[in-house]
Amino acid sequence: MAKDKVISRKIALVGNPNSGKSTLFNALTGLHQKTGNFPGVTVDKKTARVALHNSMGSVIADYIDLPGTYSLHAKSLDEEVATNVLIDESNEAHPDVVIIVADATNLKRSLFLAGQIIDLGIPSILALNMMDEADVQGIHINHAVLQSRLGIPVVPVSAREKTGLQQLQELLVQKPVVPQLPFISITNLAPEERKQLQAEHTEWSEYKCLVKLHQEVKKGSTRFPTLNSSALQAEETLLRYGTIASILDAIQLKQQAVPARTRQLDRLLTHKVGGFIIFFILLFLVFQTIFFLAEYPMMWIEDSFAWMRDQLISNLPSGFFTDLLTNGILAGLSGVVVFIPQIALLFFFIAMLEDSGYMARVSFIMDKLMRKFGLHGRSVIPLISGMACAVPAIMGTRTISNWKERIITIMVIPFMSCSARLPVYTLLIALVIPDTYVGGVFNLQALVMMGLYVFGFVMAIGAAFIMSKLMKSTEKSWFILELPVYRIPQWSNVFYTIYDKVKVFLTDAGKVIIAVSIVLWILAGFGPGEEFKHIGAEITLLQDQHPEPNDSVAHEIKIRQAKQLELSYAGRIGKTIEPIITPLGYDWKIGISLLTSLAAREVFVGTMATIYGAGDEENTDPIREVMQREKHPDTGLPVYSFATGISLMIFYAIALQCISTIAVVRRETKSWMWPSIQFIGMGLLAWLFSFAVFQLLS
């Protein structure tokens, strides 16, 4: 083969939500895909580089999957990203060719966006997707006539069945051709204003000027005082549907109908009573699965990290670097990797529900309830997911298009009691709540546990309500939502979603978690002054003298380790913050635990074990006993009174002690402002509630 210069070509996929765009992208690119972000916004940007060949030559295809959109006149952040990439030639993602993904079973609405892209004058190909379903429904589309009416190539494909892809790729290798026919004539749409813009930007197409006009008005420009943007868009839309009607007439397409299966399923799934019952059963199953199924792989992950740690400790010379590696980096890594099973499982369910079309129904049945609290129908799933783990839950809020509703959802998710709070609750409940039965049936400890979950939920809803009153938003909240046809989920789509989310979590949140773990390791492992060094030397000496220590030596070592922690920077900070936490009923030891559990709440149990020199971390009994015996040095009263215990539980139920959450909120909101407000706000609330509870009870 002749070594021609290799041509690279940017190809964008554009289409309505539910048009099968992602399935087509997956079918065209496979595992070559990468996920990034469009500069400055949180919208996902999926790209992939694939080499395409045919008899005429070969090209390097740089695919980009643009967010699903109904119109170039953007109504949401996602849609705006798609518009900007398409109209702005200087945008790094601006394509050489556009694949317009149209749903053959819902052609009329698909052609609306297609017409706008044709009028932009970008070389385009219409991929007539879902041909398999169209065949089943007896829909016949004369694509030759459609092609001649649109003035761009039309290729029937089925991304699910992988048919027609070769023909599509063949066209992509050929030289892109600019559309020859305008879809509508925009002569009468804002001619004066367009002329003004055209004079400044002679290279812009007529339609690009019009789209830009609307953008300027939306941004608040007063340059065109007589321009009525909404009326103008309405006029354009009517013109487009006029053209569409004549095209549908020409290809003799009769009115398309909603498949009977979808209507039957809806009768059941959105039924007055049954709809809710099915939703709650599904929820219960999903929650149970995430909660219990993830436990095994999480255990394996923790065990293998512990094994690696032991291997490193026994094979490396003891010292600074080994300790950094094992107790800093490895501990941090373990804290990151351990979340993967929950994230993968959660997104497995979310992708299944989304891909099947059921998710839109959940929003449909829950919207009215959620709206009362300033949330949206789409907030339901992320909130519930928060009971497993806030990290994937926050990543799942992207489906909420209204910025204010999305922010509120993100901000209140961490109030939901996540699984990391469970070990803390377990320890504290065992400590201060008697194991008795109320009314002979209900276990008091279990009731308190349930109460904490309910408390978290009430806090979330309450905070949402208050935030919705405080936050100003010009963006309209609406529920004009397509309820898509029910489809069997695509395994490949589910797989790619999981793959993608896990990867994003590992690379983005992972970095922060490891960095903070190292800082915490430094704070807890180092201290000022000779005394700290001295006690460290004592521990080393004891360990060296007793490679296999008996119980009493182990006890001696643990006492010194506890003393070492007290003298460390973390310990000193604990002492420093003591005045702040004394009104809540805590001493400096609890202060250290509050500090170390900033990285993750479950660290509380481990820190307690270290401070009190108690036994095995896995077994809470010894720590519990030691903690129960603990007396306050001045008063001689037990440190862990009922009041302190409850106050601590409330503190853990509210405070945002989770670096992963902070990292993911920062990533999703692209600002440090929201995670700061969240961290400080939840911290203050935790302090106030704990203070009130302690003062009331003691």
Binding site: K108, Y241, T270, F364, W478, I480
Partner: protein
């Protein structure tokens, strides 16, 4: 003439009508783009269990909207 102006939000399950016009300019654009053009037949598919939002059958697919949004659509009866 003489026919009273009705709104989409007044329709009950199974009833259908013809879209006539819109009272909210911003929502109008969104609804038009979604295929709710004047002259189209729109039918109530079903109400959400709590009575709001509502699912409509329009130009071959199901579109849901809140009652407050449906109240901005004026309709006329099908002849």
């Amino acid at each position: 003439m003489g026919e009273m102006k009705r709104h989409l939000s007044e329709l009950r399950v199974g009833e259908s009508a013809v879209i006539d016009s819109f009272t909210d300019p911003e929502l109008q654009v969104k609804l038009l783009e979604m295929g709710c053009t004047p002259g189209e037949i729109i039918q109530v598919e079903k109400f959400s269990p709590l009575g709001d939002p509502v699912a409509y059958n329009i130009s071959g697919y199901i579109l849901s909207m809140r009652l407050a949004e449906a109240a901005t659509v004026t309709i006329r009866s099908q002849r």
